[in-house]
Subunit: 305 residues, 2 copies
């Protein structure tokens, strides 16, 4: 799982940062890319990466503000031009459907693949045997959501010593034993997987939050995630502005990360009013409160471990 | 009057060309910029020029295909952020209103200026004392229009010899005489402007065409314009493709320019399938049929004389 930040700015594009979007690449795991938010010119940003639009299988929209969705009609249309034939699932607030459908209809756009709308509410919004996605409502003046992506725990590694005691030698039988709860050996012995594997390997957990003012209950919901991606539209000195516009400061995000004991905090949605050196100072200061943390930039890559 | 090409590609953005848009800058004439088409990321392109979004007073959409309109909601929204307070008039096919209004509504966008929809049909769509804009229907599978921008003819220069004969000496009276049809001098003499000025100076005329297959009656409509801007999605070798998709070839545009005896042909909306050297060869070849002509590129500037 790798994350590519495609747009890390807020409100409107600037010379250094495009509006919001990030790609969660799961090419090894499921040969898919999932997109979170899709501001204008996200397809232009993707063109500068190795991401293939036809691999984008799901798109999650945190909220309907223009800097998070206006790139969607163009991206969907170009994906069709670029041989995208597999379905795309679109998760987001209910009005996402009206926006996308009207855009496609009025522009006479026909997609060569099915587009499936998945209006969201709080709770689990997608689940298969490998992964689960849940949503939690934030506070931003319009419905805004955080998404939590959780891999299923994996069966722990086989323990050769234990297997040897049961008379099992290395070979194809190892895979068989790992793939089912109980295996009956040719000699009639029952091997219970639980007895011959180490502890489960916990799946990775990522939380991607939409725009929001600080939300008391969020810490518990993102407790212990491997990566917390949170907006930091303003710096602490502009706390009043953050409050006025229902946004967070970098300090708010940092306090949340500390309280929730996450493994890594990545901050995006950064106002273009801040120069790079100011951001670096703020980052240094905040690392005294919680670490590791980082302001992200367009095209930054992050590997989730 | 200067033209800045903001997007000269077709269908979807490529590394070299963004999707359609061009700016007609009339800063000296009326302190306004008019935009023709507004594909996705037009606001990003504008950011790389000296054009100020708040100067954009009118936007003309040739047709509703996504590569010509999807940048509109973002541009309108950012113009509001960037202190745009004067009204914007939006000219285009009737469904433009539904697209823009739904986009603004579903994204919770409030503009700090009036947005005035001007659904178009064939004929004069705008006129004031200095300028006239007309529209003509093209053929493109969906309603597509050409726009013709015509400056009013200007009164010719005052002829000092003639004025001297009538006893008028140079001074502020010159302006008075030029500004009205008839001026009565202090001594009672009537001076008719027509008698003391040279021939009218013809206003400049520009035709900006939307996507279209060749249209027989277009030559007469653009007859003698100073600049004809026409699509050339395909090269002559791909005439069949042009026909299949209701587009023109560069040769079609060139034949039109020749027939209409325009002063300059600028070709845009060029498919990304063609490499630069192929375009240069085609351009050289077409110059034998009509000249001056040119394939345009993003950020190219053209002064209309
Ligand atoms: Zn927002
Ligand atoms: Zn078109």
């Amino acid at each position: 799982m790798e994350i590519t930040f495609l747009g890390t700015g807020s409100g409107m594009p600037s010379k250094n940062r495009n509006v919001s979007s990030l790609a969660l690449k799961m090419l090894q795991e499921r040969d898919e890319v999932w997109l979170f938010d899709c501001g204008e010119a996200t397809q232009h940003q993707i063109m500068k990466t190795t991401i293939k639009p036809r691999k984008i299988a799901k798109i999650f929209i945190t909220h309907m503000h223009g800097d998070h969705v206006l790139g969607l009609p163009g991206l969907l249309s170009s994906r069709s031009f670029q041989d995208g034939e597999s379905a795309v699932e679109l998760y987001g607030p209910p009005s996402l459907k009206e926006f996308v459908e009207t855009s496609l209809k009025t522009t006479g756009t026909h997609l060569n693949y099915p587009l499936i709308f998945k209006p969201i509410a709080e709770g689990i919004i997608y689940q298969d045997q490998d992964i689960k996605v849940s949503a939690k409502k934030l506070q931003h003046g319009m419905p805004s959501y955080a998404y939590k992506i959780e891999e299923a725990d994996k069966i722990g590694p086989l323990l050769p010593e234990r297997l040897k005691k049961l008379g099992v030698s290395p070979g194809p039988i190892y895979e068989t034993i790992k793939n089912q709860p109980t295996t009956v050996l040719p000699n009639g012995t029952e091997v219970h997987r639980n007895d011959v594997t180490g502890p489960d390997i916990p799946g990775r957990r990522i939380a991607i939050c939409g725009d929001t003012k600080p939300v008391e209950s969020l810490a518990q919901w993102v407790q212990g995630v491997d990566v917390l991606i949170h907006e930091a539209t303003f710096m602490e000195a502009d706390e009043q502005l953050a409050n006025d516009y229902s946004h967070s400061t970098a300090a708010d995000a940092t306090r949340l990360a500390k309280k929730a004991q996450v493994n890594y905090l990545l901050m995006n949605h950064i106002s273009s009013r801040y120069q790079q050196d100011l951001l670096e100072d703020e980052q240094t200061r905040l690392k005294d409160i919680f670490s590791p943390l980082q302001f992200v930039e367009d095209f930054m890559e992050f590997t989730v471990k």
